[in-house]
Structures are given as C-alpha cells and as structure tokens.
C-alpha cells in the first residue's frame, strides 16, 4: 500500500540551494560564452573586410573590368557576372541531382546495397579536397574540349554541391514522421506522389537549408576553378569560354605585388561575402513566404 512508503524529505538544505544557484549561473555563463566565441570569428572577419575593403568599393568596381597593371581604377564587374554564371550552372546541376539522390536514399533505397553505396560515396566525395575536384573535371571536360570553360567550372562546383545536398535531404526526409506518410498513403495516393508532394514538401525547409549550405560553400571556392573556369580579364558570358570568378580574381590580386590590386582584392572579398549573405537571405525569404500560421 502506498501509505507504507516513506518519502525522503524534499526540504532543500541551504548549502544545496546555494550550489544549485551557482551551477545554474555556471551553465548559463558557459552557454553565453560559447555563443560569443562562435560569433567572434564571423564578426571579426566581416568587420576587418569592411575596414579594408569598403574604401575600394565605388561605382566603377561594379561596372568596369580590371585595368592593366599600372593604371588606376577598374573593377570586378566581369568577376561578379562570372561567379553568378558559375553558381547558376553549379546549382542547376547540383540541386536536382543532390535532392533526387537524397530522396532515393531515404525513401526508396532503404536497406538496399545501392543506397548504402550512394551514402558512402557522398561521404567520401564530401571529403575530397576541392583542388582534386578541379583536376578531375580538368581531365573530364577541359582536356577533351581542349580549352577552359565556364561549363567546366560550373560542373566542378556542381559536383561539390551534390554530397552535402544528398545527405541533408536524406536526413530531413527521415525526420518526417511516419504518421504523416501514412496519412497520404491512406488517402490512396501513389507512393511516388506521396514522397514528392507530402514528405518532400514537409521536409522542404530543411532541404532548402542544405542547398543553401552547399551553395554558400562552393560560392567561395577557388581551387576547383583554377583548372576549369581559369579566370578571364575581360567580359565573357559564354559557357564555352574561360570565365572570371570573384574568388579567382581575389586570388590573383591578393598574390600580386601591387598595392592597388591588394585594395581591389579586399573589396572583392567583401562583395563576395555580402553577395552570399544576400542570396541566402533572399532564398529564405522567398521560401518562407508561403508558410502558414501555425505550421510546424
């Protein structure tokens, strides 16, 4: 019988209470401290970029192509355009393949050997140094075509996007509760339709985050472009010709011996970061517009 059980007294002793208050503050301090530690590098880098780069930003920076050595002025307009084209090619290739791979692994390939192979390959691909990716695409596309091209650069970046997107898509799909899937199947919806219209849609905020992570990562990549997009001092928007890219141009300017070019490199770095932040924010805004009141 319950009345026979003697409960220990719940009265907190004074020392006990002091300890709890202390431990509470300790944990809060540790959490806040870690937050600051995480944010310091970002803020420091951003602040330093603004300090060094903001002064070299003017209208010419966004409208002109680089001037020859010795001439003042010039800008990075062709690099900004080039980065845009490269990232568009990369996203067109990496996002659909990555998401489709994630869907296969999570929804159709459970416990199948092919799915395990895809998962393993994606993990290995994620760890391949980006310069190796550049060399691989150099051999696959640049050598047969006998010239550098925006296409080769875009493909190199696109391949780098795939593993991140595949793995995040898989994880986000697996987080969709079984009862939501069953609801769709119970309505007589074919499995493929339920996967695309219900499971993927429910997981879409996470999938979009994965795509943005991959996008932001490759947007700043320099190494895979060295042997593929190559860089270009002039205007070019053809996918079959070498093309300029912000990270490449920053690299070239930063290792040059000229102060003027160093200044432009700082400006380019600032523009690159701002463009990444803006495009990620834009995608999030557009994707978030359709969200309803109370949606989880």
């Amino acid at each position: 019988m319950a009345s026979n059980i003697v409960m220990p007294p719940l009265r907190a002793r004074a020392s006990n209470r002091l300890w709890r208050v202390f431990a509470n503050h300790l944990a809060t301090t540790a959490a806040v401290g870690s937050t600051i530690l995480v944010m310091v590098p970002l803020i420091a880098i951003f602040g330093y970029l603004i300090y060094k780069g903001a002064s070299s930003l003017n209208l010419a920076f966004f409208t002109q192509i680089p001037k020859p050595v010795g001439e003042a002025g010039g800008g990075m307009a062709n690099s900004i355009l080039g980065s845009g084209i490269l990232l568009a090619i990369a996203s067109l290739m990496g996002v659909p393949i990555g998401i489709a791979g994630g869907i296969y692994v999570a929804e159709f390939g459970r416990n199948k050997r092919l799915a395990n192979m895809v998962r393993f390959t994606a993990d290995v691909l994620n760890g391949v140094p980006s310069i190796v990716m550049g060399i691989a695409v150099y051999t696959l596309i640049v050598v047969p075509q006998k010239h550098f091209s925006a296409l080769a650069g875009g493909v190199a970046l696109g391949i780098m996007m795939i593993p991140t997107i595949t793995r995040t898509t898989e994880e986000m799909l697996l987080m969709v509760p079984l009862n939501v899937r069953e609801a769709a199947l119970g309505l007589g919806v074919p499995n493929w339709r339920s996967v695309l219209s219900i499971t993927l849609r429910t997981a879409s905020p996470g999938v979009i985050t994965g795509c943005m992570l991959a996008f932001a990562r490759v947007a700043g990549e320099t190494a895979p472009l060295l042997f593929t997009a190559f860089g270009n001092q002039f205007w070019s928007s053809s996918v079959n010709e070498p093309i300029a890219a912000l990270p490449l141009q920053i690299f070239v300017y930063a290792i040059s011996p000229y102060d003027e070019w160093h200044r432009l490199a700082w400006g380019g770095a600032l523009v690159l970061i701002v463009l990444i932040v803006v495009s990620v924010a834009l995608v999030r805004y557009v994707a978030g517009r359709g969200v309803l009141k109370g949606a989880s």
Binding site: G188, R201, L292, K293
Partner: protein
C-alpha cells in the same frame, strides 16, 4: 453508400510474429462495428489489413481474403485503388503540417489529379460540414495550417480529409484515444451521423465507446477473434468466458 466487408481466414505477420491468426468475420454495410481487446491483441493490425496498409511495413505479411463489396482486395485490386475506396483515421491526428486547412481536406483529390476549383470548393465545404468542423474553421480555411488547430479539431480535420474522397468504408484506429472527453463526444456523435452512409470500423480501448456507437462488436485476444456479435449481446451476455472476463475488467 457503404459496402459490406467479408474477411475469411486472414493471417498477418510482423516478421516471424504471427499477429493475426485465421480471422473470419462479416462486417455489415452502413453500420458501425467496434473492435475491442487489450493492447497488442491485433485489432489495429486487423484494420490495417482491410485497406492494405499492413503491407507498407517492410516486415508485414498477409494471407487470406478480404472482400470489400464485390472486390477481393488482395487478388483483384491495387493498394492505391483500394485505399481510395476505404478512408482511414489514425490514432494520433496527422494533418499535413505544411498545408492549410483547405489544402488538407482537398489533398486526397488534388494528389489524385483533380483540379476543378469549383468542385474542390464544394467538396471541402461538404466534408468539413460532415465532420462538424465547418463552423469553427470557415473563416481561416486558407490562412491557417492544419497543425494550428486543437487536437480534437485536428482529428475532425483528418476525418473530413478522409471523407473528401468519398469512400465507402471508414476505418478508425482509436480515433479518440488522444483526445479530451468533449472532443471524444464530438467524434462519437460524428460516427453516429456517418454510419448511415458509410460502413464504419472502429478500434477502441474504451468499452463504453464501443457500446455507444457500434451495432456489432468483435473481441480480439492474442491475435485471435474470440467473439463477434451484436454489441448488446457482447456486453450483456457474452458466449465466451474470456470476453466476459475482459468486459468485466478481470484482465486487460
């Protein structure tokens, strides 16, 4: 209109676990039939065999025949086809979280390719009326997510969603077990309304609920159907000793 369901020699397994053993019974059209029994007795598995949901589990396996109306659903029908004719309401309300109330109700038709906006509007209103939810949500049909409703409203939304595809049979797997008494009463009223038009099979842990809503009741124990009879007979004068023990609370 509802149709009769005839089950003969139905067996189901989860892996090597023989969950249902040779079940045979006839569920009459346009009536409510309750299935009772202790946890793990196989009653949920049984209803999941009636619309071929059991086989969505990778280790699920079924033998035997289930006739819904004229159709032997395992031999003459595809899972997708049969689930369109048989609506299902689950234990936990499961509206599609990213969809509005309207889209939730319309989902069954939309995902099967219906696009006519006027027809959809009508079906959504009719289904929500049938599920006694229309008055509460008619002003935020497209503004609010299905997940923003209360638990009881969510479950009625799920019933409306199932009704929207105009099924002949409604399977309800403990539809009120996650709800408070007021919401439970609403769901029971609903079952009472619906059973004139649909064949309803309801799994429940709550014996009073079975007694209130169902004409017939089946008692499951350890994967077997112990007794199946008119509800008043099961609760007042059961044939089997085990049924009597269960309904008088001696075990389970």
């Amino acid at each position: 209109m509802g149709v009769e369901i005839e089950v003969s020699d139905l067996n189901a397994w989860y892996g090597t676990n023989h969950t249902l053993q040779s079940i045979s019974l006839r569920i009459p059209a346009n009536h409510a039939t309750a299935l009772i029994g202790p946890s793990g007795c196989g009653k949920s598995t049984f209803v999941r065999c009636l619309n071929r949901m059991h086989e969505t589990n990778p280790i699920g396996r079924v033998t035997g025949t289930v006739r819904v109306g004229q159709v032997d659903i395992y031999a003459q029908s595809s899972p997708v086809e049969i689930r369109r004719r048989i609506g299902m309401v689950f234990q936990r309300p499961n509206p599609f979280p990213t969809m509005s109330i309207y889209d939730n109700v319309a989902s069954g038709l939309r995902l099967n390719g219906y696009r006519n906006r006027k027809v959809l509007d009508e079906v959504v209103e009719r289904s929500l009326q049938q599920a006694a939810l229309w008055e509460e949500v008619k002003n935020d049909l497209k503004k609010k997510s299905g997940a923003s409703l209360s638990g009881g409203q969510q479950q009625r939304l799920c019933i409306a969603r199932a009704l929207a595809v105009d099924p002949e049979v409604m399977l309800m797997d403990e539809p009120a077990s996650a709800l408070d008494p007021v919401s439970t009463a609403k769901i029971e009223d609903l079952i009472f309304q619906l059973k004139s038009q649909y064949t309803i099979v309801i799994v429940t842990h709550n014996m009073q609920q079975a007694a209130r809503v169902a004409e017939n009741t089946g008692f499951f124990l350890n994967g077997k159907l112990v007794e199946f009879d008119a509800t008043h007979k099961i609760f007042t004068n059961p044939t089997d000793k085990r049924t009597e023990d269960y309904i008088t609370g001696r075990f389970g």
